[in-house]
Subunit: 147 residues, 2 copies
Amino acid sequence: MTETPLRTFMALALEMAKQDKNEVPVGALMVQGGTMIALRHNEVMQRQDPTAHAEMLVIRDALRILGQMYLTDCTLYVTLEPCPLCAAACAAVRLKHVVFGAYDPKSGGLIHGPRVLDHTHHKPLITGGVMETESQTLLTQFFAGQR
Amino acid sequence: MTETPLRTFMALALEMAKQDKNEVPVGALMVQGGTMIALRHNEVMQRQDPTAHAEMLVIRDALRILGQMYLTDCTLYVTLEPCPLCAAACAAVRLKHVVFGAYDPKSGGLIHGPRVLDHTHHKPLITGGVMETESQTLLTQFFAGQR
């Protein structure tokens, strides 16, 4: 895969991340065969549910839309490295590929912290750092505004 | 807390685990102030969603029923050690206490595998092995029947 489609989809995820000013700005989308099938931002505040991360929502959307139990031919794009919850969900639904933007040394669970995929049977491909600066800047601005 | 209420609630979770013969028999319930507020079994096959574990469902039920963002005064009972996904969810909603039945050295994420809580800010109390034999026997019988 060339760099271009990765950036194209990540740019869409970034736009989605900006849609709700009350939520930590993270956006995610699911792609199957070059086509976007689901797009979400965090809904933690809206739903009052700390597990309503963009990745969890887009994974459940994709399962329902495709009517299949596993997402073995799908790629998840997300603007921030998934946390342990979302990393475990990526393995559970057997994603082909996870592409993320900013690294999250503090709360990430994919390549930081518990490194959940070191312990799962299924291990999606991982590509990190796509539009990293843009994703990180968006998060930094959000948290600066909250102080 | 004495042993009695732990076994009483775990016995209910075990009964719930047996309700759907198509699902891996795991049951979970949420307790607040000595009162059960939600009760679920796995719904992975029913929903065709590998993330629809009993714990995830009972956590989302409890958030909705209580209308609060965190479950800091709640105890989760589950018949099997939570996997990494559910262990991370337990931390995310800030559960007070997680009580489980059988240990899961292969796929557990609470005290086995990635030990997710070693990396989270919030760390619920953990009590394992309550009605362990009954929980393990139920699982062993299910998987023996699938061969």
